[in-house]
């Protein structure tokens, strides 16, 4: 693990989400969520909400246009639709994380991988990204209207000059990790269903290990805050949001 900040003393919780499953938790301001692609096969579909007002949520368009990028990696910040930073990518060994590829539906899973129901396969049954998002969102009183364009951590999708989308299956390897520093209290809702453009013939989504640790102080020369002037302004807006604790 390349980031020294997750020292044993700083870690407050560890967890594992197996492939094709869900997870959610409020990551509080001052804590960082590390996700580790255990076997090099993980795709983590993720959405972010302000737990006090979930109408404020991760915004794909604002994140991309604010940082003039279609590739998310270290230094990038994940913007809400309210001009604030929700989380910052303070560490990344995979190099590219997708936010335009979307999620799988039940029909996609059926077409690509065949029918694998609980009745025949028990807990090895196949689940879609949409199904897993809707189940986990429902636990927070959220539903279809809140299901917006999501992140796909560890997956790389890029557009050619003609706009055609491509998926790079070699993007993330065993042990690759991304660290997301919460700049405000953030409800993280995620699932580990396969990426919709994953070309593999088998339903084999990988597990992800989670580590929550206390963030070190954000210093004047913070890499994410200083990456672009937009990031500094969005971070300043988040500081106003946090000014009363």
């Amino acid at each position: 693990m390349s980031n020294p900040d997750a020292t044993p003393e700083a870690v407050v919780h560890r967890d594992t989400v197996s492939g094709g499953r869900y997870w959610s938790m409020v990551i509080r301001h001052g804590f960082t969520l590390r996700l580790v692609d255990r076997d090099g096969r993980a795709n983590v579909s993720m959405l972010l909400y302000n737990p006090r007002n979930p109408l404020e949520r991760y915004n794909m368009a604002d994140t991309l246009k604010g940082q003039h990028t279609s590739r998310l990696t270290r230094g990038n910040m994940l913007y809400s639709d309210m001009g604030r930073v929700m989380m910052s990518i303070v560490e990344d060994t995979a190099g590219w994380h997708d936010t335009i590829g979307g999620i799988t539906r039940d029909a996609d899973i059926l077409r690509k991988y065949g029918e694998h129901r609980y009745q025949e396969y028990g807990n090895d049954f196949y689940r879609s990204g949409r199904e897993l998002f809707l189940i986990e969102l429902a636990k927070w009183g959220l539903g279809k209207p809140d299901l917006v364009a999501n992140l796909n951590l560890f997956s790389k999708v890029y557009a050619g000059a003609d706009g055609v989308l491509h998926f790079d299956p070699e993007n993330s390897g065993p042990g690759d990790c991304i660290d997301l520093r919460a700049e405000m209290d953030t409800l993280v809702v995620l699932n580990t269903a396969p990426h919709p453009m994953d070309p593999g013939p088998d339903y084999a989504p990988g597990a992800v290990d989670l580590v929550i640790y206390r963030s070190p102080p954000v210093l004047e020369d913070d890499y994410c805050v200083n990456l672009r002037p937009e990031n500094a302004r969005a971070f300043a807006n988040t500081a106003i949001h946090n000014c009363q604790g």
Partner: protein, 220 residues
């Protein structure tokens, strides 16, 4: 599908059932019946038209989805032949003619808060598409609000991506008289903000009116 597919329309505005000029900075909200065709005409050129669609039957459940649209065609740009998909995986409208050639659906709509981040903390008082969207929805009786604002289409807007991960707002490739036309494949509610953005080249720094033209289906 490649990025540009220039196709002219056989439809004659003289046969239209509805025509309205929408000034810059104004919203426009209208129901389209299945089979009707909507043309958005860029009257003076390089004018971004931020657009969302909702199912007329169940507007709070089914809406336009940028990600599903991009995923369905495997391409990030919209042009003739693009099927505009819903979050439920259904075709809402199909683009049947396009004399501009490329439209964006990843750039989103401008908002007071995002303008602040992108252009300066003093830009918050400037008008934005989200203000127009929210005002139109709040005044309507469809039960829609901020929760229902997802990634929209930016007709006539040029947001090229590069294989290395670039994404920029570039000068428009539209011009006076260019248009895009789409046929409703279900009954839909169309929500438009004729974009008031003054901080980037999406409106050539001069927001101008567009015309909305609707035709009934042939024989309909």
């Amino acid at each position: 599908m490649s990025g540009i597919n220039l196709v002219e329309s056989p439809l004659d505005p003289a046969d239209a059932v509805y025509r309205e000029v929408v000034p810059a900075g104004e919203p426009w909200l209208k129901a389209l019946r299945r089979g009707q065709t909507l043309r958005i005409l860029d009257l003076e050129g390089n004018q971004a038209v931020d657009t969302l669609f909702y199912s007329l039957e169940r507007p709070t459940v089914e809406r336009y989805s940028a990600i599903d649209t991009v995923q369905a065609q495997g391409n990030v740009y919209l042009t003739t032949g693009t099927r505009l998909m819903s979050n439920e995986g259904n075709v809402m409208l199909a683009i049947t003619a396009d004399t501009c050639g490329r439209h964006d659906t990843l750039g989103g709509a401008c908002a007071a808060e995002s303008n602040q981040v992108r252009y300066g903390l003093d830009k918050k008082p400037m008008h934005s598409c989200r203000d127009s969207f929210l005002r139109a929805l709040a005044e309507s009786d469809y039960g829609l609000g901020k929760r229902d604002l997802a990634s929209n289409i930016n007709f006539f807007m040029n947001v090229p991506l590069t294989p290395e991960g670039g994404l920029t707002f570039e000068d428009g490739i539209s011009d006076a008289g260019k248009y895009v036309e789409m046929r409703a494949e279900m009954d839909v509610l169309v929500l438009v903000s004729n974009c008031p953005q003054l901080n980037n080249p999406c409106n050539a720094y001069n927001p101008t009116p567009v015309e909305m033209i609707v035709w009934d289906p042939p024989g309909g």
